[in-house]
């Protein structure tokens, strides 16, 4: 049997990889994908908890989160598209017109 701890650790690792991606990739799209990965990592832990407690609420949460993630994708990509129109790039390293 795979223990809850293992599931959680897997979820955690994925989350952390996503975090590293957000931290390091200056390509906006890859950064964005990393964010999606983080949400998915959380989803995994929801499902794992659901499985280990027998409550299906966790799966409902995943359902809801998936919808949110899709929305996030739409919004995020729209923002990128808009930005690309202005900047001809989605490189976040080029984005510091503000800042001290």
């Amino acid at each position: 049997m795979v223990g809850l701890n293992e599931w959680l650790i897997l979820s955690g690792i994925l989350f952390l990889i996503g975090a590293v991606g957000v931290l390091t990739r200056s390509n906006g799209l890859i950064l964005f994908m990393s964010l999606e990965l983080m949400l998915n990592a959380v989803n995994l832990s929801f499902v794992a908890f659901s499985r280990f407690t027998g409550r299906m609420d966790g799966q409902v949460f995943v359902f809801l989160v998936t919808a949110v993630a899709a929305s996030e994708a739409a919004i995020g990509l729209a923002i990128f598209v808009n930005l690309f129109r202005l900047q001809k790039s989605v490189d976040v390293d080029q984005l510091n017109s503000m800042g001290d």
Binding site: A19, V22, L23, T24, S26, L31, V92, D93, L95, N96, S97, M98, G99, D100
Partner: protein, 659 residues
């Protein structure tokens, strides 16, 4: 006894001050002129009325039984705070009565004199305003029944002195002299203030908080010897300021920058004697502090000699007189310092007349010579200005202590008292005092005769033009001279000592003012050692001899053999220079006090402490805050991933610290 009229004495000059002040202000704008007649009339009327009332009061006082000769008037409550109650209340006893008499008398004369002397001045209304104010303040000083009220007059006369010295304010030196006078007086006032606080504190502890002279006299038991000494020395500090004694004497010669009548009135006859008056007024307190008295006497004697020696080397007509005044004030302090208040005040009294006469005479000369003050440019005025000459001569002889003029009696009284009264603190003091005073007497006679000789004898050394214009002064100037000269002859007879067959009326008159009833300590000091009349005769003779010697030497050097004087001057040129430069006291003050303090204030306190340190800290705090601002802004890089990174760091720290 309550008297309803005392208020009139100060009020009259005050009213004159108000009127003249208004006139002066109203006509101050260019192109306007104050009416001479009105100003003169008002100006003279003020002190005149005061004089008349004073005479009347004096008469009344005289008519009262000895020992209870006190007239009082409570005018209104001035300051009242808790146990402190200071009233505007007047009190005339024999001492203040006497002072009153000659202050108003001489004052009136000098007002009259001034009407002529200041006739050409554009600002004469202002002059009389100040002069009237001075009379008011001086009368308050004399009439006050408490120390604070006396202090009002005390500072008031200082103010007027300041204003009048700086009367010709457009001359920076004159304005500066006024300031100097005020500041030196203030140093003295510092002492007076502290003395008042100490007295009040002492009396508070004794359960009788007050600053009235009567109350102080009634609670002398409250003063321990130490406190009494402290109070007396503090008061004496005030006296040295006002009466130009060492170490605060340097302002008085400079004060000659004022118009000459002012010098006569304020810086010779009245104000400068206020210090003596103060010591005499609180004589019962000084009696508790023999040490303080001895110091007073010693300082007085030293001043007498030092000032006289400086006077020898001065060439400014008025400066000579000024040093003479300082010197004579020293005599007065010796008088009061040895406990002979009567003698001291007697000298104040006589000095007022002959010194005023001398100053007015000098004014007459200066007036005639259109402002010439250097005696080296004078000479032979004897014939041009006979009235001035003769009155001046009389006054000079009086000052030199030639019998039977006024100065003789008073000076002799002091000399004798100084010699004859044993000193409990320093037994050797009487002889030393006597010797110094003799030296002073000799020098006085010498420089005075030098002055007379250079100014009135010989031939005129100034320009022809000046001689041509020189003339005898008009009657408003001449009349006071004559009156004062006459007084210089007469007033001495009020104090003819017993051994000369006199009754020493002044001493008897004044005595009740100095004695605290039933106070043993006072009695102990006041007790005369028994001396034979022969000794008194001898001492008097020596003193008189000194005066004659001085005159003789002066006559020899400046009338008979002027070349000898030149030779002597060349021989002792170093000494001459030191004397002419007043022992470099001014320079010493400048180097030791004025410059360092100014330097300290400017360079250290202001530019370093205030601006650099305090403000520096304030600004540094501001600057540091701003610097931190830039530190934080450095992290606000504008890169989104930096922000994410900081979030992760935040989580990291929270995880590791909180969990």
């Amino acid at each position: 006894m309550e008297s309803g009229l005392l208020w009139l004495i100060p009020a009259a000059p005050l009213a004159a001050f108000v009127v003249n002040g208004s006139v002066s202000l109203a006509t101050s704008r260019p192109g306007r002129h104050a009416p001479h007649g009105l100003v003169h009339a008002v100006a003279c009327l003020g002190p005149g009325i005061a004089f008349l009332v004073s005479v009347w009061t004096f008469w009344q006082l005289h008519g009262m039984p000895e020992g209870s000769r006190v007239l009082t008037q409570h005018v209104y409550e001035w300051i009242s705070s808790g146990s402190l109650q200071i009233d505007v209340a007047f009190r005339i006893d024999p001492l203040s009565g006497l002072m009153l008499l000659f202050v108003t008398g001489v004052g009136t004369l000098i007002h009259i004199y001034s009407t002529s002397y200041m006739h050409e001045e554009r600002g004469f209304a202002r002059y009389f305003t100040y002069l009237n104010l001075f009379m008011f303040a001086m009368l308050i000083l004399v009439l006050a029944d408490s120390l604070p009220l006396l202090f009002v007059g005390w500072e008031g006369v200082g103010l007027c002195s300041y204003l009048l010295i700086g009367y010709w304010y457009d001359d920076p030196e004159k304005a500066s002299a006024g300031k100097k006078a005020f500041v030196f007086n203030r140093i003295g006032d510092f002492g007076v203030l502290l003395a008042m606080f100490l007295i009040f504190w002492t009396l508070s502890r004794a359960g009788a908080p007050s600053l009235r002279f009567e109350d102080i006299r009634a609670h002398l038991d409250a003063f321990s010897p130490g406190v009494a000494t402290a109070v007396c020395l503090l008061l004496f500090l005030g006296a040295t300021g006002k009466s130009a004694q060492i170490p605060l004497f340097v302002w008085l010669p400079d004060a000659m920058a004022g118009p000459t009548p002012v010098s006569a009135l304020i810086h010779a006859a009245t104000m400068v004697t206020a210090g003596v008056y103060l010591v005499a007024r609180l004589g019962f307190l000084y009696a508790l502090a023999p040490m303080a008295l001895s110091i007073v006497a010693l300082v007085g004697a030293t001043t007498a000699v030092v000032a006289a020696s400086i006077g020898v080397a001065q060439n400014d007509f008025k400066k000579v007189l000024a040093y003479s005044t300082v010197s004579q004030l020293g005599y007065m302090f010796v008088g009061v310092g040895v406990g002979a208040y009567g003698a001291g005040i007697f000298h104040v009294f006589t000095h007022a007349f002959f010194k005023a006469c001398l100053f007015l005479g000098s004014g007459s000369v200066i007036h005639a010579l259109h402002g010439e003050q250097d005696i080296r440019n004078m000479g032979g005025l004897r014939k041009v200005m006979p009235v001035t000459f003769w009155t001046f001569l009389i006054a000079t002889l009086a000052l030199a202590g030639i019998p039977p003029l006024a100065g003789f009696f008073s000076k002799d009284a002091i000399l004798w008292e100084a010699l004859s009264r044993p000193n409990v603190v320093w037994p050797w003091l009487p002889k030393l005092l006597w010797a110094m005073l003799l030296l002073g007497a000799f020098l006085t006679a010498f420089y005075m005769w030098r002055l007379v000789a250079l100014a009135f004898f010989g031939t005129f050394r100034g320009t022809k033009e000046k001689l041509h214009h020189a003339h005898e002064s008009p009657w408003p100037m001449a009349m006071p001279l004559v009156v004062l000269a006459a007084c210089s002859v007469i007033v001495g007879f009020f104090g003819v000592p017993g051994f000369l067959g006199g009754s020493n009326a002044i001493d008897h008159w004044l005595e009740p003012a100095f004695v605290a009833e039933g106070h043993t300590a006072v009695a102990a000091v006041a007790e005369h050692a028994a001396h034979s009349a022969a000794a008194e005769w001898g001492a008097t003779g020596v003193a008189m001899l000194m005066g004659l010697l001085g005159i003789g030497l002066g006559h020899l050097l400046y009338v008979r053999r002027p070349e000898l004087a030149t030779q002597l001057a060349a021989r002792f040129s170093g000494l001459r220079r030191v004397l002419a430069a007043k022992y470099y006291v001014d320079e010493a003050y400048d180097a030791v006090v004025v410059r360092p303090v100014r330097m300290l204030s400017d360079r250290v306190l202001w530019r370093i402490f205030d601006v650099r340190i305090i403000d520096g800290i304030v600004n540094l705090l501001g600057g540091l805050t701003k610097a931190f601002s830039y530190v934080f802004r450095f992290f606000q890089s504008g890169y989104v991933q930096t922000y994410v990174f900081v979030v992760v760091l935040g989580v990291l720290v929270l995880l590791w610290r909180v969990k």
